[in-house]
């Protein structure tokens, strides 16, 4: 019930997103009809294409048409790839999500222990390591890290596979269950594909992890410092509890809330903003899809992308709120 009410409160924002994306894409500079008519088209050819695409009709008429299609779950057709947008998003979202999840997993498993270690020994070498990592992580642009990793591990050493997307050319995609190649290949029992998919994932996931571990490690360190300096930890120490119990059970559990908030932020940010990593690694994700569509003034995919992202954000916020209430019983969800 609470969940439903919470979801309902997101409806106005989604309606707003629909209107704004529609208007914004129309306000984009560039004329799709001219673009798609090709370099040698006459004025008349451009007009024919404009008519075919429906861009010669008035904005309200176009908008009503768009809403009608949307109600049927039809997000329109992409002009640059020629495919239905909903289908493209469906195949590309898992690619982005798989990469993002793995990056996030890597980054959490490095950042949180690092943050805790730095907070428990402030001023030590590990604290300095943490500082170097976080500073380097935020100051190195993702595409640069990506290119550097490719240069070193693929071009120079030859350890990593060629940056050719989700699979090398001699493997074929596993049967579709979730769209996550790692999971699908395991379900199909195809370990060769699993290995191929994993080896393609390593470099892009690390370049994203290096970028995202910075905010996580910092927040972990800061909130751990605050928790370790608080009264209940002093009491626990005075009570003679073991150090591990104090740090991991009492302090960490109290310090984890801001970490989860940051995690949510980092996740949504990574999902949408990993365009550059996707470009560098020829990753067929939604970020690169949206950028290509923007460059070509291809309205339908841009609208579809923004709408999908808006939905994801709503779900993500809901998920984070739910996790909050699990971690900290004092937090209650209210609409």
């Amino acid at each position: 019930m609470v969940v439903l009410r919470r979801l309902a409160s997101a409806l106005p924002s989604i309606a707003g997103v629909i209107v704004v994306t529609f208007l914004l894409t129309r306000a984009l500079p560039g004329d799709p009809a001219v673009y798609f008519a090709g370099p040698a088209a006459s004025e008349q050819a451009v007009e024919e294409i404009r008519h075919k695409l429906g861009f010669d009709r008035s904005l309200p008429v176009q908008f009503i048409g768009y809403l009608k299609d949307l109600a049927h779950g039809n997000l329109g057709n992409s002009l640059s790839t020629g495919q239905p947008v909903s289908q493209e998003l469906l195949t590309r979202l898992p690619a982005s999500a798989e990469l993002t999840f793995l990056a996030l997993f890597l980054s959490v498993s490095i950042a949180v222990p690092l943050g805790i270690a730095a907070a428990t020994r402030p001023g030590s070498w590990i604290d300095h390591t943490c500082r170097i990592f976080t500073t380097a992580g935020v100051s190195l642009p993702v595409f640069f890290t990506g290119l550097l990793l490719i240069y070193v591990f693929y071009y120079r050493m030859g350890w990593a596979p060629a940056p050719l997307g989700r699979l090398d050319i001699y493997s074929s995609a596993p049967p579709f269950y979730t769209g996550f190649y790692l999971i699908d290949s395991l379900i199909a029992g195809d370990f060769e594909t699993f290995r191929a998919a994993l080896s393609q994932l390593v470099l892009p996931a690390f370049s994203m992890a290096i970028f995202s571990l910075a905010p996580l490690a910092r927040v972990t360190r800061a909130s751990m410092l605050a928790a370790l300096g608080s009264d209940f930890v002093r009491t626990a120490k005075a009570g003679g509890l073991s150090r591990a119990r104090i740090v991991y059970v009492y302090a960490f559990r109290n310090a984890v809330l801001p970490v989860i908030t940051t995690l949510g932020m980092v996740f949504s940010f990574l999902l949408g903003a990993n365009v550059l990593v996707e470009k560098v690694f020829a990753w067929p994700g939604i970020g690169s899809y949206a950028i290509e569509a923007l460059i070509a003034s291809d309205y339908a995919p841009v609208q579809g992308f923004v709408l999908t992202m808006a939905m994801l954000y709503v779900l993500l916020n809901l998920g984070i709120d739910l996790i909050y209430s699990l971690v900290d019983p004092r937090v209650r969800i209210t609409a």
Binding site: Y170, A282, P284
Partner: protein
Amino acid sequence: MRRREFLKIAAAGVAAAAYIRPVNAQSRKDTLLTLSENGPNNLDIHGVGTNRPGYEASWNTYDRLISYGVKKDENGNDHYDGAKMQGELAEDWNLTDSSVTFHLRKDAKFHDGTPVTANDVKWSFDRAVTVGGLPTFQMKAGSLEKPEQFVVVDDHTFRVDFIRKDRLTLPDMAVPVPIVINSGLAKKHATDQDPWAMEWLKNNEAGGGAFKIDKWTPGQEVTYLRFDDWKSGPLPKLQRVIWRTIPSAGNRRALMERGDADISIDLPPKDVAELAAGGKVKVVGTPIENAIQYFDMNVTMAPFDKVKVRQAIAYAIPYQKIMDAAMFGRGKPMFGRTGPLTEIDWPQPSPYTTDLAKAKALLTEAGVGEGFETVLSFDLGAAVINEPICELVQESLAQIGVKVTLNKIPGANWRAEFSKKTLPFSANVFGGWLTVPEYFFFWNYGGQNSIFNVANYKSAEMDKLIETARFEPDPAKYKQECLDFENLAFEDVPRIPIFQPLLDVAMQKNIMGYRYWFVRQLDYRQLEKV
């Protein structure tokens, strides 16, 4: 799970992963891996907004009636021969003054096994002249305009009636547009709203070409298989072609240098120059016929309305610097001709060289000796080439008192902007499929206001020469007319040519048989891995 257990399992996993490695060595020899920046957006060249990679997909999977022969270019590489027409689906043809009759191969089949008949040809040609957009427009360039022109004589005989005598009619039937589609298959997927099956053919191929599409993942990959029953030419050596879209140029280069990919087009000039110098891979650069990179000056806007000002600018372009520092030598210079024009093959080098003193003098003669300010616009979509060129020009023009501001226009916007024809000074490139000079001049210098005449150049003399040349039967007169309009273009100089761009293709040393085609994409039929 305990930590120790976890480590054990992880170690076992790594060991297992190392053990299982795909070994597929022998199929690699028959499989070609090609890379490009973009993939096709449509498998149908008649489709709305089909992009250039789409031409490659169509070119290799559909046959045309006729094609061109092959010759060696000046560097000894294979080059299609515009002067030699040869049959593809047609075994031979009879050309008369009023029509041309094609005799189709009797054993030719489509990919689904149905025989190719004249009805398929007619359906396909009718489609091309009816659906509008690029195909209809391109057919018109060869005076192929109405379905009534296309006549089925019998199952294997097809006639095209001329509506006027046009020397481009036959060549126009060998460009990528007039493909022969399996009309029976396509009609099954046609609807009342979509009688030409545009929707279905966008994602499905219904051809009879040397390769058939195995799988197309838009934006990522196309895989082709050889069509073993292909009869329109010698059977290709490759059995499988995999075409991956790799957006980052640096990665395409890395993949080539590491030997993981076989062939790549669309590499930036700097990478091409370094790859060629590195010696690990073969690089073939072919001048793109009928194409020029140039600057346009809008003759309707002051001070470019004065011929002397335009000539002054033409003398102030740092030509050689552009070739060296921006293009890394990947282009054919189109400046500094010393003698008079003797050949008509377009493009020809202009008589201009970098001569700042002369430029300054011409500006003074034109009454703008103190210089002026102007805006130089270019397409950000081709920024790799345009940006350094325009910066060099900015620097050079400053020395004769002309202050240039750069205006970078995003790719999607570029066409709309330059077709407004209000840009005073702009950098651009043009290339045509058909190589005759009057075709280029019709589009670029003609007074009928084609969108490529960004300079708004209009000259009664020029128009008359182009029009006469197009339908001139006498070769000697034709040559003189072409020379005249070419000289006029250099004299009035609304456009300053810089260089003829190259189609650069990088390939591994074991790739043989690469042939340049005016489509500026790859033809897999002649390629082979040795």
